[in-house]
C-alpha cells in the first residue's frame, strides 16, 4: 500500500482579527452616527461641516491624507476610533462613505417625511408643526395620514346638513362655508381654534370624534384645542422648506447613488472594485445635483472629496493594469495633457473644441517614466508622492499586518503583489504628509518606525 497525501491549510488569524476589529469599529461608528442624528447635524451644523470639509478637501488636494484623517476625526464622525486599525486612505474613504451614508440617512428621512406629507395632503412645512402638536398628546407622525384621511371624509359630508359631522361641527360654530377655500392645514387650524373656544366640552369632543374618527378623535381634538400654531410654525426648522423644495431631488439622488455601500470586507481588491467605483459614481452624479438646500459648501466639499477618491481609484487601476494597458493609459493621459495645453496656449482652441465632450476629471497617473510625468498636471510635490518604492521593511510590515492564508506543501505564503502595490500607493500618499500626528499614526498602523521616518 502506498499513500497519496493531500495537505492544505490556512492561517487567517491576523487578517481575520484585523478585519473583525475594523468591522466592529465601523458598526459602532454607524450606530454612533445614527444616535447622534446625522440628519439634525446636517440641518443645524451645515456651516461647521462645510468648513470642516473645505479643510478636508484642501488636505486631500495637498496629499495630506493623515491630516485629513485628523480632520475627519475632529468632525465628530468617530473616525478616530478607526485610525489605529486601518490604513490611512482606507479610513479617508470610509470617512467620506460614512458621511455620504449620513446624507443618505438624512435624505431617506426627508423622503419619508415628504411621502407622509403627500399622503396627508399637506406640505412638509405644514407637517412639521403638526408632528410637534400631535407629539404632545402621544400621537406619532405615521398616524397623521390616517387622521387626515378621516378629516377629508368628514369635510366631504359637511355639504349634507343632515350628516353627523355637519351637526357636530355646527355645535362648535363651524359649517361648510367656514371651510370654503381653505387648505387642509388651514381647516385643521380652524377646527383647533373652534375646539379651543367651544364652551361645551362635550360638543367639542363630539365634533373632534366626527372629524378625526372615533379612535383618535379625542386625542387629536385635545392636541388641536391646546395648540399654538403660530409658535409651532415659527419654530419650524429651515429643513422643512428644504425638504419641500428638494424632496424630488433627494429621491433622484437616492436612486442615483443607491449603490453607494461602504464595504470594508475587502480592504484591497474590495476597496478598489466596490467602494471606489461606488464613490466615483456618486461623485459624478453629485456634481450634477443641486445640493444648495443642504448647504453649498458642504455639497461641494463632498463632491470634491469624492473626486479625490476617483483619483485614487485611477491610480489603483493603473497599478493593477497590465504593462500594455499602462502604456495605453499613459498615452491617453498624454493626449489629454496635450489637449489641455492646446486649450491653454492656442487662442480660440477651447471654443473650437466646445462640441467635444467635457472631461470630468483631469489628474495624473502614478509615474513609472517620463511620459507620465509629462502628462501630470500636478505640483512637483504631488508627483513625488506618487513615486513607487519597494522597501524591504514595507514588505515585511505588510506581511506582518495582513499575513493571511498560507499554502501548505509545495505552496508557501507570498504577499500578494497587487495588495503590496496598493499599499505602496497608500504609503506614497501617506509619505506626502509632514504632519507629526500622521507619522505617529503610521507607526500605529504599520508598527514600523522605519516607514514613519521615511515619511
Amino acid at each position: 500500500m502506498s499513500d497519496v497525501t493531500l495537505s492544505l491549510g490556512v492561517d487567517a488569524s491576523q487578517m481575520e482579527s484585523g478585519l473583525g476589529r475594523a468591522k466592529s469599529a465601523l458598526k459602532g461608528l454607524e450606530s454612533q452616527a445614527n444616535q447622534k442624528g446625522i440628519f439634525e447635524r446636517i440641518n443645524n451644523d451645515v456651516k461647521n461641516l462645510g468648513g470642516t470639509f473645505s479643510t478636508l478637501k484642501d488636505q486631500l488636494a495637498g496629499g495630506n491624507i493623515v491630516g485629513a484623517l485628523a480632520t475627519v476625526s475632529r468632525a465628530g464622525v468617530g473616525m478616530g476610533s478607526l485610525a489605529p486599525l486601518l490604513g490611512g486612505v482606507a479610513i479617508a474613504m470610509a470617512g467620506v462613505a460614512v458621511v455620504a451614508r449620513g446624507m443618505w440617512t438624512a435624505m431617506s428621512r426627508a423622503k419619508e417625511m415628504r411621502n407622509t406629507a403627500e399622503q396627508s395632503g399637506l406640505l412638509v412645512t405644514e407637517l412639521m408643526p403638526l408632528q410637534k402638536i400631535f407629539g404632545q398628546v402621544g400621537l406619532e407622525a405615521e398616524q397623521i395620514p390616517v387622521v387626515m384621511t378621516q378629516l377629508r371624509a368628514s369635510l366631504e359630508t359637511l355639504g349634507d346638513p343632515a350628516s353627523k359631522a355637519s351637526k357636530a361641527f355646527e355645535k362648535i360654530g363651524l359649517n361648510a362655508e367656514s371651510f370654503k377655500g381653505k387648505s387642509y392645514y388651514e381647516a385643521l387650524k380652524l377646527i383647533g381654534g373652534a375646539l379651543g373656544s367651544a364652551k361645551d366640552k362635550t360638543d367639542a369632543l363630539n365634533a373632534a370624534t366626527e372629524a378625526f374618527g372615533a379612535k383618535k378623535g379625542v386625542k387629536v381634538g385635545q392636541a388641536l384645542a391646546g395648540a399654538d400654531f403660530g409658535k409651532m410654525e415659527a419654530s419650524t426648522p429651515e429643513s422643512a422648506k428644504i425638504i419641500q423644495e428638494q424632496g424630488e431631488m433627494f429621491q433622484k439622488f437616492q436612486i442615483a447613488i443607491q449603490n453607494l455601500k461602504p464595504s470594508l470586507d475587502g480592504l484591497f481588491l474590495g476597496m478598489a472594485s466596490e467602494i471606489i467605483p461606488a464613490l466615483m459614481d456618486a461623485a459624478a452624479k453629485i456634481e450634477k445635483l443641486d445640493l444648495v438646500g443642504m448647504g453649498k459648501s458642504f455639497g461641494k466639499s463632498i463632491s470634491e472629496g469624492l473626486t479625490k477618491a476617483l483619483e485614487l481609484k485611477e491610480r489603483l487601476a493603473f497599478v493593477m493594469a497590465t504593462p500594455a494597458e499602462r502604456k495605453e493609459m499613459q498615452a491617453q493621459k498624454l493626449k489629454e495633457y496635450e489637449e489641455e495645453r492646446k486649450r491653454q496656449l492656442i487662442p480660440g482652441y477651447a471654443e473650437a473644441q466646445k462640441a467635444a465632450e467635457p472631461q470630468l476629471h483631469n489628474y495624473p497617473m502614478p509615474s513609472e517614466g517620463p511620459q507620465a510625468a509629462r502628462g501630470a498636471t500636478v505640483s512637483t510635490g504631488e508627483a513625488k508622492a506618487l513615486k513607487i518604492e519597494r522597501p524591504e521593511s514595507l514588505m515585511s510590515s505588510i506581511a506582518k499586518m495582513g499575513g493571511g492564508a498560507s499554502g501548505m506543501g509545495v505552496e508557501s505564503l507570498n504577499v500578494q503583489r497587487e495588495q503590496l502595490s496598493v499599499m505602496q500607493q497608500m504609503l506614497a500618499a501617506l509619505r506626502a504628509s509632514t504632519n507629526t500626528q500622521g507619522r505617529a499614526s503610521m507607526i500605529d498602523i504599520y508598527g514600523n518606525s522605519d516607514i514613519a521616518v521615511t515619511a
Partner: protein
C-alpha cells in the same frame, strides 16, 4: 457614457494568494472560503483519481449544454472509461481459443494449443491471481497473450470491474467532511483506506487527507494533487473575476 474598469487579476500565483483574494473581495468568512475551496480541491481529486481522470489525466468533469465544463465530477463517465481500460488490459493479457482460431494459424496456432493444455483446467481465481501478479508486464512492451478459457477471462474482467472505486474511496473521509456526494460504486468501499486529519482553531484551518492504495500508478496520483490545486485555482480565478464584475456593476461600471 459607460465607464469602463479593468478587472484584471495579476500577481496571484499560489493557492493561498487566490484564497486571500477571494476572502478579501467576497463577503464570506475565511472559514467558509477555506471550506468551500479546500472541498473543491478534494472534488478535483475525485475527478482525477482512477478510474476517473481521462486519457490525459485532466479530470473527468460533466459538461453543460453549451459544451462548457462544469464543476461536477463525471463519475459515470469515469466508470465507463475505466471499464474500457480494464477490457483492453484483460485482452492484452489473455487470449481465448476462440480468439486464437481467428488470429493465429500454422505454427503459432499449434504453439498456442500446446500452452493452452496447461490452462485448460485452471480455476477462475487462479487466472485472476495470475493477472493481478503480472498485469503491469502486459502494458509495455505488448506481450504475447496468455491462453485462457473464455469463462476465466470473463471472470477476471468481472472481478476487475467489481473492484472499481477502491482507489477513489481513499478520499471518502475527506469527501464526507466536505459534503461531496459519491456514487455507490465508490461509497460501498467505505473509508478504510481513507484518513483525514482536521485541525481547526479560531482562524487556522488545516487538513491532511491520505488515500491509501495498492494501485500500481499511485505515484501518478501524488503528482495529481498539485493538478487538483491548480484546477481549483482556475475556479477561484473565475469566481474572483465574477465577484469583481458584480461589484463593478453595482458601482455603475462596465467591466472589461
Amino acid at each position: 457614457m459607460a465607464k469602463f474598469i479593468s478587472t484584471n487579476i495579476q500577481g496571484l500565483e499560489t493557492f493561498a494568494d487566490y484564497l486571500n483574494a477571494i476572502y478579501l473581495t467576497g463577503k464570506r468568512s475565511m472559514k467558509e472560503q477555506a471550506y468551500t475551496h479546500f472541498g473543491g480541491v478534494v472534488r478535483n481529486m475525485y475527478a482525477i483519481t482512477f478510474p476517473m481522470g481521462g486519457k490525459n489525466r485532466s479530470g473527468s468533469f460533466k459538461f453543460n449544454k453549451n459544451g462548457e465544463r462544469t464543476g461536477s465530477v463525471d463519475f459515470a463517465g469515469g466508470k465507463k472509461a475505466g471499464q474500457i481500460v480494464i477490457a483492453r488490459d484483460v485482452n492484452n493479457a489473455f487470449m481465448t481459443p476462440k480468439e486464437a482460431a481467428v488470429m493465429l494459424s500454422g505454427e503459432r496456432m499449434r504453439a498456442f494449443q500446446e500452452v493452452f493444455k496447461k490452462y485448460r483446467n485452471e480455476s477462475p481465481e487462479a487466472a485472476f491471481v495470475w493477472y493481478l501478479g503480472t498485469r503491469n508486464k502486459f502494458k509495455h512492451p505488448k506481450p504475447v497473450r496468455r491462453p485462457v478459457t473464455g469463462r476465466n477471462k470473463a471472470f477476471v474482467y468481472k472481478k476487475l470491474t467489481e473492484r472499481q472505486g477502491t482507489v477513489a474511496a481513499g478520499w471518502n473521509k475527506a469527501g464526507a467532511y466536505f459534503g461531496i456526494t459519491v456514487p455507490s460504486w465508490i461509497s460501498k468501499w467505505g473509508s478504510a483506506n481513507s484518513s483525514l486529519t482536521v485541525q481547526e482553531s479560531e482562524n487556522t484551518y488545516k487538513f491532511v487527507a491520505v488515500c491509501s492504495t495498492s494501485h500500481p500508478n499511485a505515484a501518478e496520483l501524488q503528482a495529481d494533487a498539485d493538478k487538483a490545486m491548480n484546477m481549483q485555482k482556475g475556479n477561484m480565478k473565475r469566481i474572483l473575476l465574477n465577484l469583481l464584475k458584480q461589484q463593478n456593476k453595482r458601482g455603475g461600471f462596465v467591466s472589461k
